[in-house]
């Protein structure tokens, strides 16, 4: 039973296509856009916030 479930899960994973390079670039551009909207060109402020969150996560 467990093996059948594993096989099903593996088949599902297999069906997940790798995002193409252009899709990845688009996703990254969107992430950059989010940061830009929030911080403008002040990347130091962004860096500080990232550090704070890293500390929380750690």
């Amino acid at each position: 039973m467990k093996k059948a479930a594993d096989n099903k899960q593996q088949a599902e994973t297999k069906r997940q296509p790798t995002p193409s390079r252009s899709t990845r670039e688009k996703e990254f551009d969107e992430a950059v856009e989010r940061v830009y909207r929030r911080y403008g060109t002040d990347l130091s402020a962004f860096h500080r916030d990232v550090q704070k969150e890293m500390v929380k996560r750690g």
């Binding site: 997940q16 390079r21 990845r24 969150e53």
Partner: protein, 399 residues
């Protein structure tokens, strides 16, 4: 909030280990492992590296295998490379070839140009041929390295831009160019070994600039209608004059005593510079990072252009003159990395754009952009919740 993204995270349970020399035996050992990982699923593959380098052809075979599609024509698996202890020569090249490259903090990385082992005794003829082959190969590898690391390098520039003002003030030089600020800021962060390659890149870039401006003045020919050989002949004449001009006070200088060698170097240097002037990749830099480079007012003005193509063209027109010097410095750096022995620390590799991240170091990386989800201000949070609720209702109604 930080949300882990698999494209940026080391995953030892789905990994390959490159230990020892890169050669045919390694390819034989890794091939079934790569194929198995790829056929199991299309998730990212981590490649851990601890290698003194080896055969470039074998390294390229491993890279090609890693980038294979499958019978469903899926895109290649995303590859995360990580140097644990040592990546030298071909292994360093493999490290930088990763879609995301990571260095462990105490690791060391060595870049150098191509080597050729000769079993037969050398003659003047074979030496001359070998010089040409090695020069040509190094040029190819330098530009191949440039393609691999350009996003990382341009990202370093963008993220340091807001420090340029303070750097000018600190150096009491309000007229200092953006490129000089960037070069100075990065130089301060490099180890002594890396400072040497940085210096070589600076010298190469300065020589590009002075050669280019001298030669451009001398070429009177209509470039579009002239043949390649005619333009080359004009360039050679201009370089001869450039050499004479530069050394007019040096009585011991002559073409016979080293000047001819310099002439040949300058000829190839000029070619290298000119062939990269109109690069498509520079255009991509302009569209990706333009808004971070331009003054806010100008960026806003361009953002108002409704037609996407016209907006992009205007962005390239405005940003290209600002990024051109950085681009030619970057090309000079890629060539400098192919000269001599360049021993680097993990942090050096980060600042030179050879890796994206150093484990445990507080350095901004591309990962931060995708994993960091800023907390929304309360009113925006409420708005987003409302949107989610109405979207859920629409989905439920549709079902």
């Amino acid at each position: 909030m930080i949300v882990a993204h698999p494209f940026y995270r080391l995953n030892p349970s789905r990994a390959l280990y490159i230990n020892g020399p890169i050669n045919r035996d390694l390819v034989t050992r890794l091939t079934p492992q790569i194929l198995k990982l790829q056929s199991t699923n299309r998730n990212p593959i981590t490649v851990y590296i601890d290698s003194p380098g080896g055969h470039v052809g074998s390294m390229e075979t491993i890279l090609r295998l890693l980038k294979l599609s499958d019978q469903d024509s899926s895109g290649p698996c995303h590859v995360i490379t990580a140097v644990t202890t040592r990546a030298a020569s071909a292994a360093a090249d493999l490290l930088s070839s990763g879609d995301y490259a990571i260095a462990f903090p105490t690791s060391s990385i060595l870049y150098h140009g191509l080597r050729q082992q000769e079993t037969n005794p050398l003659t003047v003829e074979t030496t001359s041929m070998l010089t040409n082959v090695l020069r040509f190969s190094n040029d190819i590898y330098a530009m191949s390295l440039a393609r691999k690391i350009e996003d990382r390098f341009s990202f370093r520039y963008v993220m340091n831009r807001d420090e340029f003002g303070a750097f000018r003030t600190h150096n009491s030089d309000p007229e200092m160019s953006d490129l000089d600020c960037f070069v100075g800021i990065v130089e301060d962060k490099l180890s002594d070994g890396a400072k040497k390659v940085w210096k070589k890149a600076k010298e190469r870039h300065e020589r590009y600039a002075s050669l280019f401006s001298t030669v451009l003045k001398k070429i009177k020919r209509d470039i579009p209608s002239a043949s390649e050989a005619q333009i080359e002949s004009d360039c050679i004449k201009a370089i001869v004059e450039f050499g004479l001009q530069r050394n007019k006070k040096n009585q011991s200088w002559s073409f016979k005593r080293g000047g001819i060698g310099q002439l040949v170097d300058d000829f190839f240097l000029l070619n290298e510079y000119m062939s990269n002037l109109g690069s498509e990749r520079l255009k991509k830099w302009c569209t990706s990072f333009g808004r971070w480079i331009l003054p806010q007012e100008e960026a806003d003005k361009i953002a108002e252009i409704v037609d996407e193509q016209k907006r992009s063209e205007q962005l390239v027109r405005s940003v290209r003159p600002l990024l051109q010097p950085l681009w030619s410095f970057f090309v000079a750096l890629c060539h400098a990395l192919q000269e001599g022995e360049n021993e680097l620390t993990a942090t050096d590799a980060y600042w030179l754009g050879l890796v994206d991240e150093v484990v445990g170091e507080n350095l901004l990386s591309a990962r931060s952009f995708e994993e960091f989800k800023p907390d929304l201000p309360p009113e925006a949070k409420h708005e987003e919740e409302q949107t989610n609720v109405s979207e859920e209702k629409t989905t439920a109604a549709g079902a």
